[in-house]
Symmetry: C2
Subunit: 275 residues, 2 copies
């Protein structure tokens, strides 16, 4: 075909043989992250916040009975991001949610069935918006994330089951602190989804510092203490209140409302600044 001379694009397209190149399937996997409240028992104490991810249990091979990220195959005429939105709606019945493309995984051996390339997305939700029940094969897992120079260890816990995986970090080039991730321990998370979870959490941690991304996980009105808790639970470290308030000050507006009934001084409710 390359030999033939075409005089116009129309002529070329009419003649085009789309079987010239290899074809394969594409899926999208969605990392749905949220922060939840857990009661502490002590009436005075603030509720404990937990960073969490939504997983579904596979009911067929491959990886039968293992947990995985919600996902699905894209259709021949469907935009990638639309496919991600479709999966998100199926699992949570939520729309107009923060959705960001993470990474496209293209290892030919990543799916034992056949060649499948997967584009992963990260969705951030405020759990209060989640009115509908999640599907019965889905479950929220709290995230315990620890990282050092050499490896990342993650424990996921939904109250009944634990999932534990470990990833070795191999420096790609020192100039950028980029690492290749090698999953060397994994109790029950399917496919290469440990990598998706880890790259999403890393991205979120970074963006927390230089964007206002956090407000996608917050309700309309919140106290600065709650906002600080969300930062702390995602970053995995404690922050000092005065410094935190200085940094956040320009991004929020005070309202007339107060949160009371907490066993201590009421706190002003803020909202994300509109302008």
């Amino acid at each position: 075909m390359d030999g033939k001379i075409y005089r116009s694009e129309e002529e070329f397209l009419k003649d085009y043989d789309s079987s010239l190149y290899d074809k394969l399937s594409i899926t999208t996997d969605i990392l749905i992250l949220s922060v939840s409240n857990e009661e502490t028992g002590n009436y005075r104490k603030l509720s404990d916040k937990k960073f969490s991810v939504l997983l579904v249990k596979r009911d067929n091979y491959p990886f039968k009975d293992k947990w995985c990220l919600p996902g699905g195959f894209i259709k021949i005429d469907e935009d990638l991001e639309d496919a991600a939105k479709r999966v998100l709606k199926n699992e949570t019945n939520l729309q107009n949610i923060y959705l960001e493309q993470l990474f496209t995984f293209g290892d030919p051996k990543r799916d034992p069935r056949m060649r499948v390339v997967s584009t992963s997305y990260m969705a951030l939700i405020d759990k209060n918006k989640l009115n509908e029940k999640i599907p019965k094969n889905a479950s929220w897992f709290n995230i315990d994330f620890t990282e050092d120079e050499k490896r990342i260890n993650v424990i996921l816990d939904n109250g009944y089951e634990f999932i534990k995986f470990g990833i070795k970090k191999i420096l790609r080039e020192k100039s950028t602190d980029r690492y290749d991730y090698i999953v060397d321990e994994n109790t029950s998370l399917a496919f290469d989804h440990p990598k998706v979870i880890v790259s999403g959490i890393s991205r979120l941690k970074n963006k927390l510092e230089y964007t206002d991304i956090v407000f996608n996980m917050m309700p309309k009105y919140f106290t600065l203490g709650e906002l600080q808790q969300v930062y702390e639970v995602i970053l995995g470290k404690k922050l000092l209140a005065p410094a935190f308030r200085r940094i956040i000050a320009g991004k929020v507006s005070k309202t007339e409302k107060y949160k009371t009934g907490e066993g201590h001084r009421p706190s002003v409710l803020y909202e994300y600044k509109k302008y």
Copy 2:
């Protein structure tokens, strides 16, 4: 198939019908960026640095005679990144080059021939390493990049031809300063490659500030003045030398060598710090 109960993964895989889901082609497009020296005519003045991108001219439909990023279809058993490396080697004969995945474009209409999803990569090279000639259908274009709140304008220039395109920025959500890009002016760049160029340059600008990525575009030995010029040409703004030197100080080591013969005080050659 979903109806049948399988007792083992082997049994399941043996029976698996890979035609169950839609299949399509995937390409990789590579944004190869570099910084080049241009002589100024004045023996005293430093050579002028230009930020540049490698494009190839298409010799067939679609987009016949337009310029585009080097790219190619991935093979059924080829890793995505390996495909990018293959294309990069074809065009520049370079290997072991900094390569970073940018974004996967999945608009069903992005290729008039058929459904093609494209994963774009960014490669950064030091032009001094480019010993071999580039292919005769390829050419380096200098980049003139201007951006404000509402749009991005880019002019590419290889000395013979100009390519000009403009992109309208539509705010996705104010919380993260993410934009949808709408290409509303484009003289002769094929496919959605204006978006690839723009997202790569934005990424590079950001990473310049918080990583050591710049050293992938530098020769082994360089002066701090040259390094500053590279920052300036990529960021599109002038920097103050004392501040620049303070920031860069921890990343480079002084050598015993000097760069002389420039019509002014010689300057110490530095190298990227090893440890």
